[in-house]
Symmetry: C2
Subunit: 149 residues, 2 copies
DNA sequence: CAATGATGGTTGGTACTACCAATCATGTCA
DNA sequence: TGACATGATTGGTAGTACCAACCATCATTG
């Protein structure tokens, strides 16, 4: 890591703020905070318990209680009992939640389109390929497939 | 813009959350919110009036009042009169603010290093080059240099 | 040049985000 | 069956962000 990477870091930070800006704006149109958007993103394809969700988001459990409260009041999420463990509260998306998530995703596509279209097809694929290793953490040692010998 | 871009959008969103996560964490270590970090970033190389700053951040003027209040109380920013216009309040960074900004930048470098180092030198430069057009909005028509004819 | 209106900031009120500490219910284990 | 651990909620505090109302200063114009 040398200071030659300054341009890269600058680009990453700026693109991050650009994406977040778009997400914040789109969220605001639907009265959703960035965090609620993240929750919606996570719950799209699975149900999760409160603590699990909090850990995933790096938030305190108590923060999530309020978050889910409000989303539940709006009919986007629902709480359910966990059959295996009476202490656990499972959270999952309602049909309305799914529908909203769908719309937000579409809006994000639209919002990022002008920027993305400044790159031609080949460069878009290059960029996607370069971002991939950046965002995919290497597996922790225990979970790594055994090296061939 | 086709749905082939889904992988790219996914990469952009994930890298955005990764960068924001790092920034949020580093900010928290210094009791700074993401927004305060942004303010610090903007004021590193210039002084700005409140309204200008608010517009730049996409925030309401009143939000900035409180933000600057707190940063000022901590000795990171200072308010000054504007010689040309008595209504205007200029904001600028104190030496302590500069020092903190420096430290945060260094920490961000360190935080992103593991991810960045998953790419070799050439790929890092490629990535920086691909992000550049993405984050640099084309000049608005009026400001564009006159086309040669 | 005084009245009017526009501009720049702050203040007050509300809602949400996020944390911590305390609490309550349920599970687990000695 | 206690005692302890775990999962979630509640209450309290600080910060973020909005809007509306307000005060001061500037700019116009009658």
């Amino acid at each position: 890591m040398t200071s030659d990477d300054d341009a890269l870091i600058d680009g990453l930070v700026r693109s991050a703020f650009q994406v977040m800006g778009a997400l914040t704006r789109i969220g605001a149109e639907h009265d959703l905070s960035l965090t609620q958007l993240r929750v919606l993103g996570i719950l799209r394809d699975r149900r999760a318990r409160m603590t699990e969700l909090a850990a995933h988001l790096g938030l305190d459990k108590s923060t999530l209680s309020g978050l889910v409260d409000r989303a539940e009041r709006r009919g986007l999420l629902a709480r359910g009992r966990n059959p295996g463990d009476g202490r656990v509260v499972d959270v999952f998306m309602t049909p309305a939640g799914h529908e909203l998530a769908e719309r937000v995703e579409e809006q994000l596509r639209r919002a990022l389109a002008p920027a993305i279209e400044r790159l031609d097809r080949g460069r878009r694929d290059d960029l996607a390929g370069l971002l991939e290793p950046l965002v995919t953490p290497p597996l922790p040692v225990e979970a790594r497939p055994a090296p061939r010998r």
